[in-house]
Symmetry: C2
Subunit: 271 residues, 2 copies
Amino acid sequence: MVLPKDIPSSAENYMDSQTLTKLPISSILIIIAMQTEALPLVEKFQLSEDQKSVFPKEVPWVRYQGIYRNLQINLIWPGKDLALGVDSVGTISASLVTYASIQALHPDLIINAGTAGGFKAKGASIGDVFLVSECAFHDRRIPIPFTVLQVFDLYGVGLKQAWKTPNLHKELDLKVGKLSTGDSLDMSAQDESSIVANDATVKDMEGAAVAYVADIFKVPAIFLKAVTDIVDGEKPTAEEFLQNLATVSAALDQAVTKVIDFISGKCIHEL
Amino acid sequence: MVLPKDIPSSAENYMDSQTLTKLPISSILIIIAMQTEALPLVEKFQLSEDQKSVFPKEVPWVRYQGIYRNLQINLIWPGKDLALGVDSVGTISASLVTYASIQALHPDLIINAGTAGGFKAKGASIGDVFLVSECAFHDRRIPIPFTVLQVFDLYGVGLKQAWKTPNLHKELDLKVGKLSTGDSLDMSAQDESSIVANDATVKDMEGAAVAYVADIFKVPAIFLKAVTDIVDGEKPTAEEFLQNLATVSAALDQAVTKVIDFISGKCIHEL
């Protein structure tokens, strides 16, 4: 029987793992769901698209790779849906590319970067880039009673800590907040209750899925989420999202660059 | 630009693929989310647990395998969550094990079997086993306007046809219905609208995720869903689910056995 307070934080698990070495970080896996968010970084880090894919030939996933400041950067974008031609957003594609990329590329650190909705009641404004402290799901309600302590409920919530980065936080002066993940762009009343229960400041469609897979393999993961729309504001989410996507992606890319610059030459426990 | 009517059915794609051979089916991948559902089949087919896993050592996924009626059977259960010890239900685990199993085992056919909620308004009763005609999601709402024909909406719904099995249907006299998948055991008002839009008779937590991955790799997939609880009935879902889980799992296992017996010696286009 596992009590909630006994759930080990990811950070504690990592303490025992081989990832916590004193060698500088050498390989970074960046996972970005949308092409609009990914391409400026591909250009910034002068990455090139893989000609011989490390993934099965059937998947639309795209790997951009290169060396930047002594770091092997692999930026993975899940690509366009094979049937519909839109970005493969959401938790299923995110978990699949995280799994396959860890298997193929053995990264020292994962960075999941993307745009997100923000809650002004929790201090978010358009263009803010948040460093995420923890991730959870808000659309996986499994209220099975009679199972002691409702452990299925907790499984659904899927709370995972991000890798702790106190020095990065201090240096870059990023806002810190909790992330809640779900497969819908909008927010139902049930989603809202769960997001409040998750104490989330930002809401996305991938983070907790990346965190779930990273946690299985004990790969440290951090999450940078840039606010394109205010969920508890006046404007409709989709409209505000589209209006701000390009400019906020630029802010996100700036933040990712600063983070990578900070990481260069450091060990995982110096972040 | 892809119009909804232009979305190719999986069956059409398969017509061109190498899976459509005249050789009898030789390898079947059965994906089952819960141990209670899986173990009777493990016994029935006299499968043995893999001692040397085909999966990475970090994952909790369990493979049972053996030969039954000249068929190589691989039954994959995603195992117990590493942190919480409950069955790894839901779309993320289902998509990951489907992906990894296709890569490792190259099945000719996938059978996703499991319990489900049923809608009495659509003709479902407790203990019915449905052969699924098509799968879609009901909790991935991506209403982005201004994208022509709202293609993100369709991506979220993720409609996939099951492999067409007219002979199997005729022979076994199974009920046929559409399946709607989501990561919650309960049903919100938004879920209900989407389930109605999906015209679903049964509701589960894995099917459309298995279908998504199977479709990427053009592996024919069929879905058997046994009704443990009536969603539009009087009793609370979780209570009814737990009450009927064991007996309905037995009905499901009987149906899976009949299906496997029918498949033995046949080609994929004879189903």
